[in-house]
């Protein structure tokens, strides 16, 4: 069969489609967005009516997927690593309910924080929820793990976490497809109380999950993705997890001199780890992310065999791995000199020329002049770039929706004015409940919902509150007289400044909505329209 040239993210989407998936649920987030976008664009998926619309946030996505699994069908939910924090309540409890139809939770971590606020390692979430975890080392494995993952989930009766990182998600390679499996038919769970986590039932379900751990471990030990290859040199045994395996083998294209255990399925395969420990003098652990395996094997008192990795300084404690760092840890003579010519200047990311957020920030800076710095809480999106020159307008960016709630807390502490700047999609994702808190207490604060009518930073996906923002604010209870809409444009600068000054002075919750379409989606729409005409 002809190989397809696919990103790792796309390989997962194709694998899931070929594995009989009936629906995918997600909120966009780099580096996970392309999984869902691939399904949305797939002709086969459209013909099969595979669900692929965006969800309002990762929690609603996770719960909706669980509902599809309840109804017996195969489903995937996708998110970036910090999205799993949002979905965590549903995620952890889904391990206790178990599944009916196969349920795969694909989470894309971003070590080195290319587009994120932290580099948390989702494998810990898998361990925390006591769920099996798959971690592909290449695009073909990514395809196969999604393809076979539904069967694994159904046979172990539990959701399965697929953990990828930026370099798998956004790297392309040839991928060979397999035969397309049929989707499941609608069938309810055998036990109608399986999903009812009342304490009495939850205790029983939890014991079932605990009892299943042995089967999960056996599945790891028998997994084709976990490979044990004995080498002639017994001085060192190497455990390489996920993509770290590639950085190891890059130095040994003809085969490694040391014994290597490649781990791509968790729980950690105990049998193979014991074998490696018995065989080798010392152990080196290569893992992309936190030292999960290393911490466990090194132990608190470090009394066993010497374990090398991120904790003993053989590898850096933070950031993603690469072939050079791994090469150095293994004693190869590699270059680590990244110095470039002095004349090479940085190009920091900036808001696009013509973007409405720019005009909103220009007005905000002027309206804020009389109050000084330190009054503006912001959020996750393109507008976070308002923290950088030339605007330097905002003082926080923590997690989705935190602008509104932090502004409330600061207002409660006495800060006046207290202002939140949040995008339309982020508002729909996690801003509404915080706004309700503020309305309930009549908190003195202003929320600027900088509305570009799309989810801009991830490439222009549908924004769930599009066309509904004023109605949502009214419904939550904001006084309609203090819901103000304006077109953020240079010619409206004075109007915007005046509006902001008025609302900053108001002792209550006010909402200002500067609304203008994202210039990237506008340009794309214009191109599409021109194409349709011609």
């Amino acid at each position: 069969m002809q190989k397809l040239l696919l990103l790792g993210a796309e390989a997962i989407a194709q694998g899931a489609l070929d594995g009989g998936m009936s629906g995918i649920y997600a909120y966009p987030g780099t580096p996970s967005t392309e999984i869902t976008e691939f399904v949305q664009a797939s002709k086969e998926a459209i013909e099969r009516k595979v669900h692929s619309q965006w969800s309002a946030n990762e929690k609603t996505a996770m719960e909706t997927a669980l509902g599809m699994s309840y109804a017996g069908k195969r489903t995937m939910v996708c998110m970036k690593h910090v999205g799993l924090n949002v979905a965590a309540d549903a995620f952890v409890n889904a391990a206790i309910t178990g599944v009916n139809g196969g349920l795969l939770v694909t989470v894309a971590d971003d070590p080195s924080m290319h587009s994120s606020q932290n580099e948390q390692d989702s494998r810990f979430y898998g361990k925390f929820a006591m769920m099996p975890v798959l971690e592909p080392s290449n695009q073909q494995e990514a395809y196969e793990m999604a393809y076979f993952g539904f069967q694994l989930s159904e046979s172990l009766k539990v959701p399965v976490l697929i953990r990828i990182t930026t370099r798998i998600a956004h790297s392309r390679a040839g991928v060979e497809r397999k035969e397309v499996m049929n989707e499941n038919t609608l069938v309810l769970p055998d036990d109608m109380r399986q999903f009812v986590l009342l304490p009495a039932i939850a205790r029983v379900r939890y014991k079932t999950l605990l009892k299943s751990q042995e089967a999960f471990e056996r599945s790891s030990e028998d997994s084709p993705y976990n490979q044990f290859v004995e080498g002639p040199n017994k001085k060192l045994g190497i455990i390489a997890c996920g993509i770290a395996y590639n950085y190891l083998m890059e130095h040994y294209p003809q085969g490694c001199e040391y014994t290597v255990l490649k781990i791509s399925q968790y729980p950690i395969p105990r049998k193979q780890v014991m074998e490696l420990e018995a065989l080798c003098d010392e152990i080196m652990i290569l893992e992309e992310g936190y030292p999960l395996v290393e911490e466990l094997l090194a132990g608190y008192f470090r009394k066993g065999k010497t374990v090398h990795g991120r904790l003993d300084g053989s590898l850096p404690r933070d950031g993603e791995l690469n072939p050079d760092l791994v090469g150095k840890a293994l004693g190869f003579d590699v270059s680590l000199d990244e110095k470039v010519a002095d004349i090479v200047a940085n190009r920091p990311p900036s808001l696009c020329v013509g973007c409405g957020h720019r005009d909103a920030y220009s007005a905000l800076n002027e309206a804020m002049k009389e109050h000084g710095d330190g009054h503006v809480f912001s959020d996750i999106g393109c507008y976070t770039l308002g923290a950088l020159p030339p605007y330097e307008s905002i003082n926080s960016c923590v997690d989705m929706g935190a602008s509104i709630t932090m502004a409330k807390g600061a207002s409660d502490a006495g800060l006046r004015p207290s202002v939140a700047v949040i995008g339309d999609s982020t508002f729909a994702h996690s801003g509404m409940t915080g706004l309700l808190d503020a309305v309930v207490e009549g908190t003195s604060m202003t929320v600027i919902i900088s509305d570009n009518e799309t989810t801009g930073m991830t490439g222009g996906q549908h924004s769930a509150a599009n066309g509904k923002i004023e109605e949502i604010c009214k419904g939550i209870g904001v006084d309609p007289a203090h819901i103000r809409v304006v077109v953020p444009h240079r010619k409206n600068h004075d109007e915007m400044v005046q509006m902001m000054k008025e609302e900053f002075a108001y002792e209550g919750v006010s909402v200002i909505i500067p609304r203008r379409e994202c210039i990237q989606t506008l340009a794309r729409r214009k191109r599409k329209e021109a194409k349709q005409k011609s």
Partner: protein, 197 residues
């Protein structure tokens, strides 16, 4: 054969379509390939790069090692310099000479050319002018692809076939224009290589 290439430029300059043509040519020639690219926040006017690896043997790492690249192919001159630490001692820098200035502290033309010319193996291509001569300024990235052709370790015909495949839907005229741009770029590079020997 094994060729490791870093393709660089500024977000929106079309480096991904260069990767796409080379990638398609590689797969059609039963070669292994991996291509890591940058998505997300850094695309907004920031520097972007793609690690492209082609080999007759299986490829492990998605990323190229420092001092490991055979070629830096850049559609912007300062962006070529950003990746020099990745260039092997025998590697080539092939770059467009038209700068993309969206920052205040962009180096002077003179400093930029001096730095580029200080490298032993460099091909400077006025790709924008050549593309215009071929019929469309938008084909400058295809001129650059042509200029990289002598260093890719793949038959030139494979790239031509890649162009036909990718631009085929847009009609014969667009295909011919891009093929012309591809050949013009190749000729520039071949002249430089011949002079160097």
């Amino acid at each position: 054969m094994k060729t490791d290439i870093i393709i660089s430029g500024v977000g929106g300059q079309g480096i991904l379509s260069i990767s796409a043509v080379i990638g398609m040519a590689a797969l059609d020639n039963d070669l292994h390939m991996k291509q890591a690219e940058v998505h997300g926040m850094s695309q907004r006017g920031g520097d972007v790069q793609s690690n492209l690896r082609i080999s007759s043997e299986p490829i492990y790492s998605d990323l190229i090692s420092l001092k490991g690249a055979d070629l830096i192919l850049s559609v912007e001159p300062m962006e070529a310099l950003r990746y020099v630490p990745f260039l092997s001692e025998s590697g080539w820098v092939v770059t467009n000479t038209t700068p993309f200035k969206n920052i205040d502290n962009y180096p002077s033309d003179e400093a930029l050319m001096d730095e580029l010319n200080s490298h032993p193996h460099v091909v400077l291509v006025d790709a924008d002018a050549i593309a215009k001569d071929c019929g469309s300024a938008r084909a400058s990235n295809i001129v650059m692809l042509g200029a990289a052709a002598p260093f890719l370790g793949m038959p030139f015909e494979a790239l031509e076939a890649g162009i036909r495949k990718i631009f085929g839907r847009k009609g014969e005229q667009i295909v011919d224009m891009n093929l012309k741009a591809l050949r013009a770029g190749k000729e520039v590079a071949e002249r430089v290589v011949a002079n160097a020997q």
